[in-house]
Symmetry: C2
Subunit: 505 residues, 2 copies
Amino acid sequence: MTMTPQSAYEELLARARKQALLGSCSAVLGWDEQTYMPAGGATLRGDQMALLAGLQHEQATHPRIGELLAITAGSSLAADPRSDAAANIRELDRDYKRRLRLPQALVEELARTTSLAQSEWVIARSKNDFVRFKPWLEKIFELKRQESACLRSATEGGSAYDPLLDEYEPGAQASVLVTLFQTLKAELVPLVQTVVERTRGSAGEAVLKRLYPRDRQRIFAEAVAAGVGFDFTRGRLDETAHPFCSGFGPGDCRITTRFDDHHFNDAFFGVLHEVGHGLYEQGLEPARFGSPLGEAVSLGVHESQSRLWENAVGRGRPFWGYWHPLARRIFHEALGGVSLDAFLAAVNHVEPSLIRVQADEATYNLHIIIRFELERALLEGDLLVDDLPAAWSERYAALLGVVPKTDAEGCLQDIHWSAGLIGYFPTYTLGNLYAARLFKQARHDLGDLDSSFAAGDFSPLLTWLRGKIHRHGRRYPPAQLIDQAAGPASLVESLRQKYQELFGV
Amino acid sequence: MTMTPQSAYEELLARARKQALLGSCSAVLGWDEQTYMPAGGATLRGDQMALLAGLQHEQATHPRIGELLAITAGSSLAADPRSDAAANIRELDRDYKRRLRLPQALVEELARTTSLAQSEWVIARSKNDFVRFKPWLEKIFELKRQESACLRSATEGGSAYDPLLDEYEPGAQASVLVTLFQTLKAELVPLVQTVVERTRGSAGEAVLKRLYPRDRQRIFAEAVAAGVGFDFTRGRLDETAHPFCSGFGPGDCRITTRFDDHHFNDAFFGVLHEVGHGLYEQGLEPARFGSPLGEAVSLGVHESQSRLWENAVGRGRPFWGYWHPLARRIFHEALGGVSLDAFLAAVNHVEPSLIRVQADEATYNLHIIIRFELERALLEGDLLVDDLPAAWSERYAALLGVVPKTDAEGCLQDIHWSAGLIGYFPTYTLGNLYAARLFKQARHDLGDLDSSFAAGDFSPLLTWLRGKIHRHGRRYPPAQLIDQAAGPASLVESLRQKYQELFGV
């Protein structure tokens, strides 16, 4: 073979770009399925998604890629591990080997099933009909079990959960998470109890449940999104049953939310969360689209961005020092007489509740830990789908002291499992832990962030994140990326400090 | 080769279905481009469209299809030309041979260019900036010239226009259209003059330019769309710069419109037009999706459906006998005091105007004839893109007696050329001619259609169209399909009769 490593590398990148383009077509169809597709389109959409997933898999497992990787891997191109080429080759090799283990039929079946199951989930949730959704959930866990078995080589052993988790958070392991979450639980449960007792009898978040007309919520949310840096010429905001962010590629990033006229938090912090994801997507280097260096490195790092903007920034006093006056003007009936202090106490109100996406910062990770434990048990066969509603109630009673009255506010509340996202939930908590470190470091590096926020200038933080996180793509493994960007910090400690200032805990 | 004709036929159908599925993915992306895509997404979308078009072309020209066609073509399967198999094989053979003549690079270049050009057209039109759009138009006509040259075999000769026309209306020829349009022009120009003179000084369509709030227009248009049979569980209505209908496949058909608060006709008859297309798409047999028998036969036949519902039905007295009372309730400020007679006179008002999609039934075909003449001249090099605005004005002055003040209301008004749709316009007039025949025949076959319309029951007509047109897909060539369904009828005669009843012409 007379091909030079350089031309092999270029062909590798061209092929990767084509795969990414196909993936971005699937992303458009997936976005449409959640936003605008009529119910009657579900079967066709499932077939379309299966076809695209199959084509993508065909391309991603093409033997030519193996040949090209063999030429480049041992070459001078990969000699300096700090070079762009070495990083791209390392990650393309990882993707290729992972893909090779998955049979095309399974990939197509998963794409079709999860497309259909998401439509079924929307209906089942709105009708509170777990029985309707049960067979879909069983099928998805069965398919994901097969996927996990394919990904684990005979020698590796380990948990069935690990190969799925590794898809979202390369290098993460269930056994490490178990220990981490054990510690977190031990710290969070008493902290929540203390704050709840201290604030008992206070107004809580009652002011946030006044009338917030949805058209005004949209105006305010878009103003804030644009204000912190989300570029609406390269993205948009739509409504879905479950909020998400989908970065199609350079110049097109879609975020979604849902509006409740009587709950300010739901849409507002949901938008800010998705904006955090969107800023990461919009911060990837357009010229690197389709190569690993132009892709987000992990969901944990993705969540570190969303949770950082949602909580560390978006529930802070400096942020609202700037936005509270505008909120009072737009929602003059609801907020006309509400002071900044009262508003801050409301948006930081701590109260064990049933719905994860509406949870406060302190209880949020307990929702995640419950899902992590349940999905592991479902995957490993220690829990039957039949017994999920009861197990859900039991875990909520134990960790949060609340029990869902319906499955819609219980195990049907999240879209993730219907979409085949098993092993995704723990990345939310990893993201929270990363975010605490990043925010502490940014404040240290940038000096007086508070007064720039209070003046409505969020660009110093965004620029810092662009430099420390966004622009690197998949150059470093996620844990290393964060270690390079930030020193240690304790999430629980930062929460304690916030609650002390707000509630005198 | 030991393959049986039956299994070759089945593989052919499976391959056709896969191509159709890929095409439907492009359709979703095309729809999104027009409806919701942010401006920044244009380049990525162009690349996505080019990739999908290239993949589809690869599949459609796969040598395997030639082998399969060779096995089936001479077999007993194709012996009875009335059989499903014979019709499918005939049409698949036509598609394959046509596709084989197009180089993949040209197909991809056309997909990318027209995707980008559509975004540029939206901007150029809104800014009235012909110079901005000019290079795109030049490039598109150049690419279409190449396409035409590829499609014409050395021996066929004929007009450069014919191979492009044939894509939309199989069997149609420019030379035949020239004669047909000559006659039509000779009849329509004096008819328009007569009606205009007779109705001079009347109220015209002034009542339709009162305030019709767009949210109410949407409610009314959707009510009528559903009322005539458009199934919103298998479709939806969105807003775009240029109205269109895109049938993705079984269960998912998207129509679009644009609202002008001060022009009732624009959105309402636009929706009814797209609904006509949508009813055809929704009337194709779902089980035949991806085979020629499950596809619309031609744009002329498609337009016969849209124009039939828009005009023959939607501008008639029986139709409004049912819907006028509802319109008066919803638009009580604009229509509270407007009688059925006055309303009918308004929606049938004849007046030479600049915008095709707002034109009345009588002048509409003159708009088409102008476009047909201009696009032929552009394609054949008899007219330079540079000279298009002047030629446009000259033709409008000659045929309609009006001259656009801006290019936005002149040669930039239609999306078609930016989308590469050269040879498409004449199918509107063919559709009008077909529709006149179909409607006359339906009235003959079904008896008292008027009283069923007046009672709000449009199902007899829809059922008749389903049986005569929709369910056949591409079983018969378009001209034959219409000849089988309907006897002769004169469009101009039916217009004369309508104007006599309404205006005493």
